[in-house]
C-alpha cells in the first residue's frame, strides 16, 4: 500500500485508476488483544492510532457495530474551534485545533481542514458585555480571539440581516481566526487507514453486547461475533454510552438527545466563514461543494431514534432565514440527526469508569468532532498508562461527585 501523493494521483490517472488498494484491512475478530476499543467513530479510531503511534501498542482492536464513521462523526456539521471559556477546556480544545492544523500531513490523508474563521454574533448590549468577557478569557488562555463591531461583521458576511426590522439586530461578534471546518468522513477514514497501517485491527459489524467481568475487573467484552478478552477496554460510543454503562453495571450523568443538521442545494460562494447566532440558536457554513451546512439546538426530547423532530426543524430553519433573509427560497437537500451524549456541564468525560479495567471517552455531546485528535491522543495516554494526562485529569467522571464542574454550557455562549 503506497502513500497518497499528487504524483500517485497522476500515475493512477494515467493507468485507469487500477492501482488503488483498500485503505484498511477487514480482519477477522481474534480472541484476545492488549486493548479493545468499543466504537469506531473519530474518537475510537484516533485513540487506536495514537496507541500505536505514541505508545507502541499495536495489539489493539476497534469494534464497531455498524460501519466506521457511521455515528456522529459522519453526521456532524464539522465546525472546528477552540473558543471556549474555562482554562481546562481551552487546553483541551486548543490542543485539538493544533493537531488538526497538521493532521493531513500526519495521516497522509487530506482531512480538508479549512481555517476559514468563525464568528459568534451578539445582538444586544448585554450579550456584547459577555462577548467581551469571553474574548478576554480566551486571550488569557492563549487562544486567539477578537471582538468585531457591526461594520467588521458586515465586511465578513454581508448577507447577514442588517435591516432595521431584523428580529435580533447585529451588534458585533466574537471572531476566532483559527477556527474552521474539516471533512468529517476523511477524519474517520484517515485515522482508520493510519491506525490499520500501524497494525491496529478494525472490526466492523461487530456489536458489543456485554462486558466480561472477573473478580470485579473488566477482562474483555461479549460481542455479536463472540467473546474477546482484553487487558484494558475503552469505550467511545457517544450517544450509546449510557446503554453500555448499564451493561457494565453503572450509570453516567448523560442524556441522549437527537441533534439535527441540514444541507441545502449547492449555491455559488456566499459565505466564507462559519457564523453562529446564539440568540437565534443557529449556525451555518458553506461547504466546498456549495451546500449550506446548517444546524441549531437539540431536540428537547431524550431519544435514541436518529431522526429529529419537526418543531426543532421549524425553529432552526426559521432562525436561519431571520439571519440570512437571502436563503429563504433555497431548497434543502438533506436533513438528518445523530444521537449525542449531553453531560450536565456540557464537557466531556475522560478517564476510568467505576468498573476497573474499563475506561470512558464520552459526553462530547454536540461538540466532539473538533476534539477528535485531542480526545484520541488523551484517551490513548489513559489506556496505555492507566492514568490521566494533565489535560484530561479535570474531565474525570469523579468531578460530578467533587462538584468541580467545567460548566461550558453556561459559559461558552453556544446554543447547546
Amino acid at each position: 500500500m503506497g502513500g497518497y501523493s499528487a504524483l500517485r494521483l497522476l500515475r493512477e490517472g494515467l493507468r485507469d485508476q487500477r492501482g488503488w488498494r483498500p485503505a484498511w484491512r477487514s480482519p477477522k475478530l481474534r480472541k484476545a488483544y492488549d486493548i479493545v476499543i468499543v466504537g469506531a467513530g473519530g474518537h475510537g479510531l484516533a485513540t487506536a492510532y495514537y496507541l500505536a503511534r505514541n505508545h507502541g501498542i499495536t495489539d489493539v482492536a476497534v469494534l464497531e457495530k455498524g460501519w466506521l464513521g457511521g455515528g456522529n462523526t459522519g453526521r456532524n456539521t464539522t465546525v472546528i474551534r477552540s473558543n471556549y471559556y474555562y482554562p481546562e477546556s481551552c487546553a483541551l480544545y486548543d490542543l485539538s485545533l493544533r493537531l488538526y492544523e497538521g493532521l493531513s500531513r500526519e495521516l497522509n490523508y487530506n482531512v480538508m481542514f479549512s481555517r476559514r474563521g468563525m464568528m459568534i454574533l451578539h445582538h444586544s448590549e448585554h450579550e456584547r458585555e459577555i462577548a467581551a468577557r469571553t474574548v478576554n478569557a480566551m486571550r488569557l488562555n492563549g487562544v486567539d480571539a477578537e471582538l468585531l463591531d457591526r461594520d467588521e461583521v458586515r465586511a465578513r458576511a454581508p448577507l447577514l440581516n442588517f435591516g432595521e426590522d431584523a428580529r435580533h439586530p447585529i451588534l458585533g461578534a466574537v471572531w476566532q481566526e483559527r477556527a474552521g471546518t474539516g471533512r468529517h468522513d476523511a477524519v474517520a477514514w484517515g485515522y482508520a487507514r493510519a491506525a490499520d497501517r500501524l497494525g491496529v485491527e478494525i472490526v466492523q459489524n461487530c456489536e458489543v453486547t456485554g462486558f466480561i467481568v472477573e473478580g470485579g475487573t473488566c477482562k474483555g467484552v461479549e460481542t455479536s461475533l463472540g467473546p474477546v478478552r482484553a487487558g484494558r477496554v475503552g469505550m467511545a460510543v457517544a450517544g450509546h454510552s449510557s446503554h453500555l454503562a448499564a451493561m457494565a453495571g453503572f450509570r453516567l450523568p448523560l442524556t441522549s438527545y437527537a441533534l439535527q443538521a441540514f444541507v441545502s442545494e449547492p449555491l455559488k460562494p456566499m459565505l466564507d466563514c462559519v457564523v453562529a447566532s446564539p440568540a437565534h440558536g443557529v449556525y451555518i457554513s458553506q461547504s466546498d461543494k456549495g451546500g449550506l451546512v446548517m444546524g441549531g439546538a437539540l431536540d428537547r426530547v431524550p431519544t435514541y431514534g436518529q431522526r429529529g423532530n419537526l418543531p426543532v426543524q421549524e425553529d432552526v430553519l426559521g432562525g436561519l432565514v431571520d439571519c440570512f433573509p437571502a436563503i429563504a427560497r433555497v431548497g434543502l437537500l438533506r436533513q438528518w440527526a445523530g444521537i449525542v451524549d449531553v453531560s450536565p456541564d456540557s464537557s466531556p468525560i475522560l478517564g476510568p469508569s467505576p468498573l476497573p479495567g474499563l475506561y470512558l471517552n464520552c459526553g462530547w455531546g454536540t461538540g466532539g468532532f473538533k476534539a477528535i485528535p485531542a480526545g484520541g491522543l488523551l484517551f490513548a495516554h489513559i489506556l496505555a498508562q492507566g492514568a490521566h494526562h494533565p489535560i484530561s485529569a479535570p474531565f474525570d467522571l469523579t468531578r460530578f461527585e467533587r462538584g468541580r464542574l467545567i460548566d461550558e454550557g453556561a459559559a461558552s455562549g453556544i446554543a447547546h
Partner: protein, 108 residues
C-alpha cells in the same frame, strides 16, 4: 409532529410539553448522613435507557405534571398517568393502565 397525552387535557401537540426528568429517582434520606457519592448519584446520574423509559413531563399549557412511559428508540408513547392524587387519596385518574404509580420503582 408528534402528539402526547396529557392526563388532564388529552391528546396535544408535542410543543406544549416539557421534559422534566426521569421518574423514580429517590432523594437520599437526609435524616442520616448523605455522602457526596450518594448526592451525585441522585442529582447527576441518569438511567438514560435505550427502549422503555418512565419520565416526568409537564403539560405547559395546563401545568399538569405526569409520568409518561415511552420507547426512546421508536418514540412510541406507551401511556401517561397523572402525578396528582384525586381528593380522598386515590391515584390520579385517566392514566393508561401500563404505567406504574408515581412511587413505583423504575422499569429495569
Amino acid at each position: 409532529m408528534q402528539v402526547y397525552t396529557c392526563p388532564f387535557c388529552g391528546l396535544r401537540d408535542e410543543r406544549e410539553f416539557f421534559f422534566a426528568g426521569e421518574a423514580g429517582a429517590a432523594r437520599p434520606d437526609t435524616t442520616g448522613p448523605v455522602s457526596d457519592a450518594e448526592w451525585a448519584e441522585y442529582v447527576r446520574m441518569r438511567r438514560n435507557a435505550l427502549g422503555r423509559a418512565r419520565e416526568v413531563w409537564m403539560h405547559l399549557t395546563c401545568g399538569e405534571l405526569f409520568v409518561m412511559e415511552r420507547d426512546t428508540l421508536s418514540a412510541r408513547v406507551l401511556g401517561s398517568v397523572a402525578l396528582r392524587r384525586a381528593p380522598g387519596g386515590r391515584e390520579g385518574a385517566d392514566g393508561a393502565g401500563s404505567v406504574d404509580g408515581p412511587d413505583g420503582e423504575g422499569a429495569p
